[in-house]
Symmetry: C2
Subunit: 253 residues, 2 copies
Amino acid sequence: MSTVERHRLIAQAVREAGTLTVAELADLTGASDMTVRRDLDQLAAQGVLERFRGGARTLLLRGDEPPFALRTHEAVDAKRRIAAEVASLITDGETVLLDSGTTCLEVARLLRGRQITVMPLSLQAIGVLGDAPEPTALLVPGGRPRAGEGALTGPLTLASLSALRFDTAVLGCCGLTAGDGMTAYDLDEAAVKKAVVTSARRVIAAADGSKLGRTAHAYVGPSSLVDILVTDATAPADETSALEDNGTTLKIV
Amino acid sequence: MSTVERHRLIAQAVREAGTLTVAELADLTGASDMTVRRDLDQLAAQGVLERFRGGARTLLLRGDEPPFALRTHEAVDAKRRIAAEVASLITDGETVLLDSGTTCLEVARLLRGRQITVMPLSLQAIGVLGDAPEPTALLVPGGRPRAGEGALTGPLTLASLSALRFDTAVLGCCGLTAGDGMTAYDLDEAAVKKAVVTSARRVIAAADGSKLGRTAHAYVGPSSLVDILVTDATAPADETSALEDNGTTLKIV
DNA sequence: CCCTAACGAACACATTGATTGTTCGAAACG
DNA sequence: CGTTTCGAACAATCAATGTGTTCGTTAGGG
């Protein structure tokens, strides 16, 4: 078992049980207690759980978004396929806005070296595209990164968005339904997504099936603002057809 | 010999000779020709030199600034000492502007975890501070990164700077003299440095001795806008005393 | 106040990834 | 058309990381 697998296993177990001891987790993972202790320290630093002497307890409430470091390793190949489709929808010469989130980060990797101008809205994507080879042009938006997520938000981000217009925006989202529209976990991020939609002529949403039919806290806008939705086959059929009725073009990979 | 040492050796040799063959460089470095070829490809990608069949020729004119990747490994311990002094001049709770350049990047490393708000003006520094532990707060300026340097410039950067005020700015520079003032190699960077000075209450310049008495192309402003200059003992004494006469406080480490 | 369990530091070991050199077939230049 | 250079592939080497063990220290409970 790799390190990240064990981290996910521990995070999930602690989240479900609420509280677990080091010994229980060592037993569960098959690793030594020292390794479990090191894992718990790392997960605590990521804000996933809280350490106490002898074990750990969860910090994530039900419905909370799992931290970025864990989401990165969930539904990996679905995200990769979705990202590949999104990248293929982008034409050379375009100016592209790239949202934060793990799926969009995967898109960023595929855009390296493409002949486009891209403005990524997360620190991670900036890192990926920061040393991209020619002819890719990078634009950095201002902003304050959300802890753990690296998603840029705030007045500087909104100002950067309002100063520019883009051919295509690639949007990630936490929830998307025909009824409740697009939603995000974080209010500031939702404000950024709203501005993104305003600044872009074409909006591509990249969301694996688990996001469809789900509703998060912060409202972004109606589903009709999504021109193209790229998702995978795990998306519920009733939801996708309802989204299609609202005017969104579907790409299921 | 490490990889970066060999790269520097090759870059310097090609720069001085103008043109060298793979065989000559393999002989010089003691590495195999395959390794030299790989090195040349990497240096060509960095814009240091131009590949041709059988060897490479320099792209750097005399007086040009060597690329970032090479400067990082020059005067390493002087930069580190200067950076340590700069970091010690910054008080907890301050808001700090951090310029681009290799010396300021070293400062960024020392600011990780400090209780400050910091806005770095280069991609590299953003990368270093992007996952800084609490209680460091990061602000990202907008901008277009200069190829190879990662220095953020342009209207978005200027807008971000004009929207904020800072307690302290840490400025790197390419040249600083009492007579010609502060100068940079790049016009856009000079414009950013001007805005930096305007947005900061206190200006600390971090420049190793080689920068003093040197004048580059783009004018930033008179030396009197530097409140504190942190440099090392290789700085020419006549220059430092002239700067001191202009009102700059000296810290020689 | 003491005892026990948990912790963290230090070391050894394994595994992984990066770097380098070699070989060989392909391509470029004269 | 021959020679030289190049690039891909493979194997060897080295560094870095992750893991487990040991042992002295510390925190908390009785």
